[in-house]
Amino acid sequence: MSDILVSERSEPGADGSGRPSGRLLEVDDLRVEFRTRDGVAKVINGVTYHVDAGETLAVLGESGSGKSVTAQTIMGILDTPPGFVTGGQVRFHGKDMLTMSAEERRRIRGEGIAMIFQDALSALNPVFTVGFQIAEQFRIRRGMSRSDAKKRSIEMLDLVKIPNAKGRFNAYPHQFSGGMRQRAMIAMSLALDPEVLIADEPTTALDVTVQAQIMDLLAELQRERQMGLILITHDLGVVADVADRIAVMYAGRIVEEADVHELYEKPGHPYTLGLLNSIPRIDEKGQQLRTIKGLPPSLLNIPSGCPFHPRCPMVQPVCREKVPPLLQLGGTRASACHFAEEVVNRD
């Protein structure tokens, strides 16, 4: 079943050779730390991933795994201080965005890469109408007249299937329901036709029926516009529904990257395996939930060696000493576990 999907993938992961590689967006060995009163929290410790046009990459992780900080760094909206980029590159069309001028980055934001957030109510400005906030981009970035901008904005609201778009143009965010607000934010992020869309937990605050509507909408818009989509989430269900490829993050590292079918069928990292075993499934009865023992590590004090070793059921002495690199495993996947082969080939 998985071979079909495998064949259409190009070789994964930038391994340092031959850049620029022609990829749309690449994060390469990114390192970010937060300098806080209590010490230095190493939030991102060498994250590498990429997304191509028309592809959906899901970045999966629990809170504190660094998935949102990576996205903020890509967008250039990381709070500095306390956050500092200490290494690595974020390349858009092969050009490193971290060394660009503020003006150059600004041009990419919105037109090149756009982002939607979890909580639409706090992401939208409460004192301006939804219409104004969308039209603003057309006026400032495209130099359109007020009336043209309004016309385009109404088209955008229509695109995201907001009923009575014309009438809603002058509504304020608080007059919208949760699902509507999320739609309005999607309209806003797509206004300048970006090549990459980063969606940070876009449906976490929504009810299941509305979640299904929003995920449908995102998938449809992505298909039409051939956008690269980075979906940041903790929900293994949503990921299984929409992703092409998955990167699993833990303690600021990518611990596994694989095609969606491969990952669910044969996870290559004990953490991924643990996650899959610990979620209740709606289509299973009398299921035994096998938990991952312990807690995610404090980023102020990441365990030596493999950061997952204190919680790992397969831990060996080597895990406490050596950080396992993210190594290729077969053609299309990679895992950062010393015993990745054993995990995949377990019975």
């Binding site: 079943m1 629990e62 809170s63 009923p163 329901s177 949760g178 699902g179 509507m180 009810d207 299941v208 029926t209 509305v210 979640q211 299904a212 509507q213 449908d216 903790h234 929900d235 293994l236 269900g237 949503v238 990921v239 299984a240 529904d241 992703a243 969606v260 079918h261 669910y264 069928e265 643990g274 996650l275 899959l276 610990s278 979620i279 209740p280 499934r281 709606i282 289509d283 299973e284 009865k285 009398g286 299921q287 035994q288 939930l289 096998r290 938990t291 991952i292 023992k293 807690l295 995610p296």
Partner: protein, 337 residues
């Protein structure tokens, strides 16, 4: 069949909507819970699912006697809890306890864990004499999987999952018969959720607890509940055993809800047909006439607008459903684990 330890009859809770400051005028009511009946049996878990605004948290508040019902009654072993006063009420409160959703705001940050879990003993001194309280608290900590030596720590020194365990220990302190859990795992990370769910199951077995388990996550509810009630806009749409609701749902709302739950398995995505509901949940201030779901229902007929469907067993189904056109439909393909 054991008898019901808790019985809810035609429960109604309306909140007035007022206008004006000095001369307040009631201009309407938020019909948060609008005629809900069910029974909770000894030792069972009754799951209550529904989307935000369906009244499930208001239901929890009324069950806890934190709100007086507008109409209807909640009977604990035959006693109407809203009528109890003084000592009787205090004795009742020992028997029904609550675990709240947000482990960050439900614990007083200025109190140590020992004080938090021991506070119920201050209010009900007959449960544990002063001298034995510290020991009792440590026992409780151990019971929920926390280190008893951490008794002098403050909530901020614990993670979210550990705080939820503190909340559970506090609810258990008085050895209640019923625990109302209002979204107890929805604020927790995936790997921690399972730990807390397993803990709740284990405690139920140990103490014979009855749970009212309120949640929006249908997978979590299925995993923990023996019976499930599906709520929509203040009313129960369908109620039945876990099998009846998940394998043979008859109410269109339940069917739509179940079909929208993402299954963590990419193989399922091609096979799955999501029933797409259009629009949003109507306002509980002014719910639709007749069947409340009719504005989003694909089966709606004229009768749905005029006649509110009764929650009853209809031919061709084995459990009560509040739909004029209740009909079995398989949504989730279940396999035994």
């Amino acid at each position: 069949m054991t008898e019901n330890i808790l019985e809810v009859r035609d429960l109604v809770k309306h909140y007035p909507v007022t206008r004006g400051i000095v001369f307040k005028k009631t201009i309407g009511h938020v019909k948060a819970v609008d005629g809900v009946s069910f029974g909770l049996r000894q030792g069972e878990t009754l799951g209550v699912v529904g989307e935000s605004g369906c009244g499930k948290s208001t239901l929890a508040r009324v069950l806890m006697n934190l709100e007086k019902p507008t109409a209807g009654s909640v009977l604990y072993k035959g006693q109407d809890i809203a009528r109890l006063k003084g000592g009787e009420l205090r004795r009742l409160r020992r028997q029904i306890q609550l675990v709240m959703q947000d482990p960050y705001t439900s614990l007083n940050p200025r109190m140590t864990v020992g004080d938090l879990i021991g506070e119920p003993f201050d209010i009900h001194p007959e449960v544990a004499p002063k001298a034995s309280r510290r020991g009792k608290v440590q026992e409780l900590l151990e019971l929920v999987g926390l280190n008893p030596e951490h008794i002098n720590r403050y909530p901020h020194q614990f993670s979210g999952g550990q705080r939820q365990r503190i909340g559970i220990a506090r609810a258990l302190a008085l050895r209640p018969e019923i625990i109302v859990c209002d979204e107890p795992v929805s604020a927790l990370d995936v790997s921690i959720q399972a730990q807390v769910m397993n803990l709740l199951e284990q405690l139920q077995g140990e103490f014979g607890l009855s749970y009212v388990f309120i949640a929006h996550d249908l997978s979590v509810v299925r995993h923990l509940s023996e019976r499930v009630a599906v709520m929509y806009l203040g009313k129960i749409a369908e109620i039945g055993t876990e099998d009846e609701i998940y394998e043979r749902p008859t109410h269109p709302y339940t069917q739509a809800l179940l079909s929208a739950v993402p299954v963590p398995d990419p193989k399922v995505r091609e096979q799955k047909a999501i029933i797409r509901l259009t629009g949003d949940v109507p306002s509980p201030v002014d719910p639709p006439s007749g069947c409340r779901f009719r504005t989003r229902c694909w089966k709606a007929q004229d009768v749905c607008a005029t006649e509110p469907p009764v929650l009853e067993i209809r031919p061709g189904s084995d459990h009560p459903s509040a739909c004029h056109f209740a009909e079995k439909r398989e949504i989730v393909v279940t396999h035994e684990a």
